[in-house]
Amino acid sequence: MSVPVLSVRNLRVEFPTRRGTLVAVDDVSFDIAAGEVLGVVGESGAGKSMTGTAVIGLLEPPGRIAGGQVLLKGERIDNLPPEKMRRVRGKRIGMVFQDPLTSLNPLYRVGEQLIETIRTHTDASASEARAKAIGLLEAAGIQGASRRIDSYPHEFSGGMRQRVVIALALAAEPELIIADEPTTALDVSIQAQIIELLKRLCRERGAAIMLITHDMGVIAETADRVAVMYAGRIAEIGPVRDVVQRPQHPYTRGLMGSIPKLEAGGARLAQIRGSMPRLTAIPKGCAFNPRCELAVERCRQERPEPVHAGGSDVACWLAGAATAGKAPVEAMNSTPPVVTSDAKGGAA
């Protein structure tokens, strides 16, 4: 098997504060192969963005990588000097964020920004770069690209801007794209177009994509594999079909049960009691144990390491035993045992 485009090994991200050290990402490991989309899901605060930010070396101090490694095509990039890392970011890793305006400079025409990126990272001439920029905008679904290339970012709608950002992320032909909530601010019809675009580009150009979102629907549509994060750790990682339709970790099962489904009508939604812990108070043992209906004494004492279960890796003491083996339909429609139907949502 060839070397994965991205390998993250035992990544740990810390924020030293006056009251002690907060661990935002804890012992996270995953790979993404060329042409593969890895979805990263979880509730807000789970550490999805921190993981992405650490991979691209953009953690805001005092946040820092306190352990583990990040490898791009087998070479470590987490310990590169800032200037070298900046070049890797421009050339080999493309980025798409939720708010397209963070990636676009409002003072420059979108064409200027694209052409500059292309020329910095390839040896294209000015006219070649312009032709390439138009091609990228067209590939990103912008009609009349040869005209619109001379517009400013504010002249585009939100969906169009996100296309421009995707074109910009692709300009240097990166091997890896990190997309953090790229469709969250968009309307569904536009969201579907952007997802389609990301998938196509990944397929055609063989890039690896890390797609961060809290929307399971987007993941189900786009990802090949999914990592579910909870309190800074990966609770479950596996092929998208397994995670979405046969979730094994009690947390994933709770998440899936709480989503209203188009085909399910008005049945009562499953609820996970309580809410995600703050970084200052992550429970001992399994971080999910106060919210987990299956928790046993061991869960309150010892932290479960990921183990193979079916096609996935699951960090739960019961993995492969009590929670596995449900038929997919059953797992989607029935109320999983972890959830409570307490109308008041417990301590939420």
């Binding site: 969250t184 309307d187 569904v188 019809s189 929307d215 979405v244 709480s258 008005g266 008041k344």
Partner: protein, 344 residues
């Protein structure tokens, strides 16, 4: 004054009509022109934005009517006109037979209607303690005799929405997004309304929190016999909550039908497109039509049917005539020339 309000509320005659809410031909135009001087210098005409055009619907008692549509389609503008916060440019809102903008006693009506806003943080005064926020409608409508009764009632409401009575002593910033949504619901319920307009941006909430809020709203509806106007971008959420659904596009309701009928057999091309765009969580691999184009600028909408530049079924007439809503035998209303001509 307060006594009068209570009396009026208690003695409002029980109406026999099955409809609690009737909106007829609602429209709202905003003047979005530049200042007069700029217009004169730049020789620009006045500009108007038609946020809502000719929207009609009824809501039966104890049912949930949902309005669904993409950003800017006019959902919140309709909601504000229905609760009496925004005067319509044309049209009529009747609550229990009383014309909201034509002579009804607004104080009495307002107690019976409450709204939960799109942005829970902006709608909660950050300098007020939560118990004060929740008690505000109780005081405004004179619904309690003394401070003890208010305190008791606030505690009850907090418990009802799954918070602790002691949470009343905290300030809004001390709560998570989902908890703030609960506070908004508690405040809305404090005047014992019959009709709740919920402009809840569930897309901004985690699914786990969203499930808690949606379940809570359904429980409260059952418990108190509430009538809802429910607004959302999310078709799956709307399907979960609504009895009937109105789909909005650029200020108009283009299809309105019973929930099951709408999902089983969507008629309007835009409704079909929206349904097609929903990510397929069941991973059935259902074939999907590609969604084309962007939502047009509402200041300068396309002539005829505003959807025609994106519509796969558009024909000549669509570029000229605005399609009017036709109500079919099953009570479904659709505004589309192709549907009217039996092409769908």
């Amino acid at each position: 004054m307060q006594d009068v309000a209570i009396k009026a509320a208690e003695t409002a005659p029980p109406s026999t009509s099955p409809n609690l809410v009737e909106a007829r031909g609602l429209s709202r135009v905003f003047d979005v022109s530049k200042p007069w001087l700029n217009r004169v210098i730049e020789r620009e005409p006045q500009k108007f934005l038609k946020a809502v055009t000719d929207v009609s619907f009824t809501i039966r008692r104890r049912e949930t009517l949902a309005l669904v549509g993409e950003s800017g389609s006019g959902k919140s503008t309709v909601a504000k006109m229905v609760v009496g916060l925004l005067q319509p440019s044309a049209g009529q809102v009747k609550i229990d037979g009383q014309d909201m903008w034509g002579g009804a006693d607004l104080t009495t009506l307002r107690r019976r209607i409450q709204m939960i806003f799109q942005d829970p943080y902006a709608s909660l005064n950050p300098r007020w303690r939560v118990d004060h926020i929740i008690a505000d409608p109780i005081r405004a409508f004179g619904l309690a005799r003394d401070r003890d009764e208010i305190e008791h009632r606030v505690g009850e409401l907090l418990t009802l929405v799954g918070l602790d009575p002691l949470d009343g002593r905290k300030y809004p910033h001390e709560f998570s997004g989902g908890q703030r949504q609960r506070i908004c619901i508690a405040r809305a319920l404090s005047s014992k309304p019959e009709f709740l307009v919920c402009d809840v941006p569930t897309s901004a909430l985690d699914v786990s929190v969203q499930a808690q809020i949606l379940n809570l709203m359904r429980d409260l509806q059952d418990q108190f016999g509430l009538t809802y106007l429910f607004i959302s971008h999310n078709l799956a959420v709307v399907r979960h909550m609504a009895t009937r659904i109105g789909v909005m596009y650029l200020g108009r309701v283009i299809e309105l039908a019973e929930t099951e009928a709408l999902f089983r057999a969507p008629q309007h091309p835009y409704t079909r497109m929206l349904l097609d765009a929903v990510p397929d969580l069941a991973m059935t691999g259902r074939p999907r039509k590609r969604v084309e184009g962007e939502i047009p600028n509402p200041i300068d909408p396309p002539p005829g049917c505003a959807f025609h530049p994106r519509c796969p079924l558009a024909f000549e007439r669509c570029k000229i005539d605005v399609p009017v809503s036709h109500v079919g035998r099953d009570g479904r209303a659709v505004a589309c020339h192709a549907v009217e001509a039996g092409k769908v």
